[in-house]
Symmetry: C2
Subunit: 330 residues, 2 copies
């Protein structure tokens, strides 16, 4: 079984279900604004997670499709609002919603997506108490995402962010939605309480690894695959685990000494040579290696949580999903 083929197949199933959910209402502009990100495609990792877990615990994958679509719509709603908040003009090589339309429309389209996500959730084929549990899980998750986004906004103004605070932020902004996907998949597939708990944890750990791996890719990935120049995280002054580790290693004194090298941080005019010097410094300090090791650690812990699943094609897929999340080049 090839995970990339499997992902492509499931993404197609998801798209077929997802896009019609967004064909609602009588307001053309609002509908187009809502569909702008979802119809640009994507790997649909969260629905894939929900469907695969539902099958892995012995349920029907199809029963998890509305729930998976709900999470994908929520993911897209957060992207629309995040881009307004971060003033990012581009998403997946296309203009952001607030650039293509305007900020009011982007705020409203995000809210409308959020509302539709719950409308779709209500279509899930679970009994009423299962639905109650899903509503709680999704709501708690979105609240944590909001908290993570607020931490991210606040961190921009604070010079020193600890690695722990960074990891908490990553967990909230990224990992909890994966965790919700796996937990919900296990609920819909009628898994045991133990499986529901462990699947949540599996996906939470995977999600943190996924995000740290993003930081590594930002320095070592290929430009055409990243969709942005290598080192743009450095030019943007983006706080990554790698940067935070390097800062800890340097301490105040070291930072002063390396001031020349670090000038490229957050300087969008930095030359390629200056960016390369920062990357070399990160490498010298062991910071890139540190991030890779942390990623592998999260990956191993995630896989260990799969012990509650019987050997099967789906368990195999969930294992491969970890390797994909923390080793992907795409």
């Amino acid at each position: 079984m090839d995970i990339v083929k499997e992902m492509a197949r499931t993404a197609k199933d998801i798209d077929n279900a997802l896009l019609p959910y967004l064909d609602v209402g009588k307001h053309d502009k609002l509908r187009k604004a809502m569909k702008h990100y979802p119809e640009a495609g994507g790997k649909r990792l969260r629905p894939l997670m929900a469907i695969t877990v539902a099958e892995a615990v012995g349920g029907r994958g199809r029963a998890a499709i509305p729930f998976g679509c709900c999470l994908e719509i929520i993911h897209n709603f957060t992207l629309v609002h995040d881009d307004v908040i971060d003033q990012d003009p581009v998403r997946r090589g296309r203009p952001a919603v607030h650039v293509l339309y305007d900020i009011p429309t982007a705020i409203i389209a995000g809210d409308a997506l959020f509302a539709i996500a719950y409308r779709v959730l209500a279509e899930t084929d679970v009994d009423g108490e299962g639905l109650r549990r899903l509503v709680r899980s999704v709501s708690d998750t979105v609240y944590l995402i909001a908290e993570g986004q607020q931490m991210d906004v606040d961190n921009e103004d604070s010079p020193d962010v600890t690695i722990d605070a960074y990891l908490e932020m990553v967990e909230k902004k990224t990992a909890v939605l994966f965790a919700c996907a796996a937990e919900g998949g296990a609920i819909i597939g009628r898994g045991s309480e133990r499986q529901i708990k462990d699947m949540f944890e599996y996906a939470r750990l995977l999600g943190i690894g996924f995000q740290i791996w993003d930081d590594v890719l930002g320095l070592e990935g290929e430009e055409k695959v990243l969709g942005k120049p290598v080192g743009s995280d450095i030019r943007n002054g983006k706080r990554t685990l790698i940067l935070l580790h390097a800062m800890e290693q340097l301490g105040d004194k070291g930072r002063k000494e390396k001031k020349g090298v670090l000038r490229a941080l957050g300087n969008d005019q930095a030359t390629e040579a200056e960016v390369k010097k920062v990357i070399d410094l990160f490498r010298e300090l062991g910071s890139i290696e540190y991030a890779k090791q942390r990623t592998l650690q999260y990956a191993a812990e995630a896989k260990a949580k799969l012990a509650c699943i019987e050997d099967s094609r789906e368990k195999d897929l969930l294992e491969q999903l970890v390797d994909f999340a923390v080793g992907r080049k795409l």
Copy 2:
């Protein structure tokens, strides 16, 4: 039974339940931003509607409190985002959330309130299928509110809005949330399908009347009660049913003739005398009277929908609620 006393009593019950729901999370600033509007008080009309309807159909009012709080939180979430969208710096005499904090925090706080609203909804004491129905109703409602808000944003740039388009916008921005409150109250109170349907309609009609009455109050209310100077709708160029009726009456030719008078529209430097001239013109054209008559019509239709409720203290209260909504001075 005095509706004002009854409202004050229920508002207190609601507040006691509502504010603790918002004491969540570990992020102080986010929590404060979320609570800024809800803790400023308010009439809590939507929860009052849900509770009273639940009792009117024979159920327990207390069972509708979480649902009522959910709608109040949604109402507040829409206010936070609306103020960002409309760039309104003040709400209820206090700085708006995006002014007290910043725009990113206001967007995130609105999203977080929305998430919490569904978390509270899940606590409703109904069976699972009842909950499914409430989730659908709330989600459809928030989607319509988004559509109404988008219409409002778009109308600002279009010179001629028809009265029908205005009423559609009012229905979506304001009336559907009242309708959802009454429908949900009837579901929670285990009313008949007929009662559920008629209670929805009762509150929808009341909600439209409520909003048109706001336009009348803006010209004829007392400043200390309005919280804004009489005629500020004129200085802000706000589209109201009164203005739209006047424009229709004048036609293109009349508008040219009255250009001098109409100069006060949307002119925040207009003198009191200039504003008064516009109000006099509205009166002369019968536009204020037209708005009053439309309000009374909606009120009468709303009351007619109460036929499905047995005579009771609660039915009496629902009738008084109509009079309050379309005749309030407070």
